[in-house]
């Protein structure tokens, strides 16, 4: 399936994209992957002349947000064309085929190219009620995921739902939703691209890395590529100087907010979240949440809906104390209760004249002495 040298450049020309812009894209990819600028040439060569890997994109319990994120480009970008270098054989939202035709395309890919295609999964997989909460073409999501991911060369879980269960798996998790990695125990080369939604730049960079290096990038303990998730948002944040200085927004629209101070006290989860948002940004690097004055909600982390909430508070709710509970108030309350109880006990001791007087010999039970 090797391609001719010129197909990509012809395609770029046809779509009105200059070679300069293509090389700019390759340099950008090198930057996202933290490679030196000299790698751009290797990337350009690999992308323009490489084999055409097959991609199937499955959606389960999702909101289509990752697909949307992916399609949000405001003009035809090189990234889009890179995706065209992948033969997308199945994508529920994008494909022209429907019904049995679509299912046939999927089955053909899985049966015809075992161990050769890349499965991209969007959305969590429900395990409750035998998988009845999400069925496509009469098969449960769990069945489809096991069939498709089990025979894939690699599985890319895009978005927090596919990577960690996300919102469907948040308490009380009525559908028994799980992440792809948990649903398919024998999944090979699982790569989690979490975030809600995942940044399109990161899947593009991941696929470019694969085309160039012919292997998958190093991963963190949650199987996320280190090039995108190796640093905490807090560490690359443009407002970090205000954090270290001790300058915090106390209220929406206060002078500190208007001066762009740190959003830590407004519940920013940047210190607990790893992603390259501050560097890559969103909507073609226009801006990102903290850049426009909103705290990070920690969408790229496991259990984010359960542990990153309340979004505008520093700490999660204290278990057993209800929503909106404030740990410091509970702590001060507990300290006050214990101090009052100690005082009362001490007064009790004084009242019984025990304090300061020695018990007489006759009071002393003989059995106590050893």
């Amino acid at each position: 399936m090797a391609r001719e040298q010129s197909w990509l450049l012809d395609e770029l020309k046809r779509r009105g994209i200059s070679r300069r812009e293509f090389l700019g894209f390759c340099a950008k990819m090198a930057a996202i992957l933290a490679l030196p600028s000299s790698a751009a040439g290797a990337i350009a060569k690999a992308v323009a002349t490489g084999d055409k890997p097959i991609l199937v994109w499955l959606e389960f319990q999702d909101c289509c947000g990752n697909t949307e994120s992916f399609l949000r480009a405001t003009r035809p970008t090189v990234a889009e064309i890179i995706l065209d270098t992948f033969s997308v054989n199945y994508h529920e939202t994008l494909m022209a085929a429907a019904g049995h035709q679509a299912e046939a395309a999927l089955n053909q890919t899985v049966a015809g190219h075992p161990g050769q295609y890349i499965a991209v999964i969007e959305g969590s997989i429900p395990t409750g009620k035998n998988g009845a909460y999400c069925t496509i073409g009469g098969k449960s999501a769990l069945q489809i995921a096991r069939e498709v991911c089990g025979a894939a060369a690699a599985t890319v879980a895009v978005g927090t739902c596919a990577a960690f269960g996300g919102i469907p798996a948040a308490r009380p998790n009525p559908t028994g939703a799980v992440a792809v990695g948990d649903a398919v125990p024998d999944v090979k080369n699982l790569i989690n691209l979490s975030a809600c939604p995942m940044n399109a730049e990161n899947i593009t960079a991941l696929l470019v890395y694969y085309l160039t290096v012919k292997q998958w990038p190093p991963l963190d303990q949650y199987r996320r590529p280190l090039f995108a998730y190796g640093k905490f948002i807090h560490d690359n944040c443009e407002r970090r100087a205000h954090f270290d200085a001790g300058q915090y927004v106390e209220m929406w629209g206060d002078p500190a907010h208007r001066q762009g101070h740190c959003l830590y006290k407004m519940g920013c989860k940047g210190p607990a979240t790893s992603q390259n948002c501050p560097v890559v940004r969103w909507n073609e690097a226009t801006n990102w949440p903290i850049g426009c004055g909103h705290p990070c909600v920690g969408c790229a982390e496991p259990n984010f809906w359960d542990t990153m909430t309340p979004f505008y508070r520093r700490l999660p709710n204290v278990p057993g104390f209800g929503v909106g509970s404030n740990l410091d108030r509970i702590g001060i309350g507990a300290a006050a209760v214990v101090a009052a109880a100690s005082l009362a006990h001490g007064i009790g001791e004084i009242v019984r004249h025990r304090v300061g007087t020695k018990p007489s010999d006759s009071d002393r039970p003989s059995g106590d002495k050893k």
Binding site: Q221, Y222, G230, F232, H234, A241, H242, F243, D244, A245, G246, Q247, Y248, E250, Y264, K265, K269, P271, A272, G298, E301, P302, N303, F304, D306, T307, M308, R314, L315, P316, V318, L327, D328, I330, G331, A334, A335, V338, A339, S342, L343, H345, G346, G348, E349, R352, R354, V355, G356, P359, D363, R364, P365, D368, K369, K370
Partner: protein, 236 residues
Amino acid sequence: MSATPKIVSPTEAVVAVYVWELPVRLTHWLIVLSIAVLSVTGFYIGDPLIAVSGPARDHFVMGTMRVIHLYAAIVFALALFVRIYWLFVGNQYARWDQYLPVSRERLRNTWEALNFFSYWRRDPLPYPGQTGTAGLAYGVVFLIQFVMVLTGLALYTVYAAPNSLFQAFVFLIPLFRGLQMVHLIHHIGMWLLLVFMILHVYLSVLFSVTERNEIDSMFSGYKEREVTVVRETRDA
């Protein structure tokens, strides 16, 4: 016929018992001091109440608080580990079995202590070391302090360099269900230790009054105990 022992003139005497060995006293006060520093800086880190104005480059309040917190944490962790080591090599009052009501004697002691605290028993407790209840409470406190060290190490992985040895503790984060829960547990632990401290100080003062030199003993190591000395004479 054997001679019948006859008790003559029982007298009161004060005996100094060496209870707290040097490592116990030293780690106790290092832990007290480090917890004080850790609580003040930790409280600021959790909820920074000091407001500074002007250019960010002129200030380093949070940065300074965090540096002090980290150094105090090193002192705390080392002191705690020395104390945990001493649970296994220390004297009978410092050993691990004092912190669990495992033996019959410890259970009886716990019962007596509960009777004492509920005003039922009038006498002070004769045991020179911890009472059974205190031992159990300290056992729980050791556990909380150990969790504080673990959660602290998990939080430190965020700031440690990527190739730092401290990254070995990154596996702890998923065990607590993520960094936010680690923060929460670390913060709850602080309050539990502070609440314990109130109770601990009150009871130390109480025992200093009802018995002797309870608080002094954590400096000197010795507890004075009144004993009744019984002299025996035999009829010739």
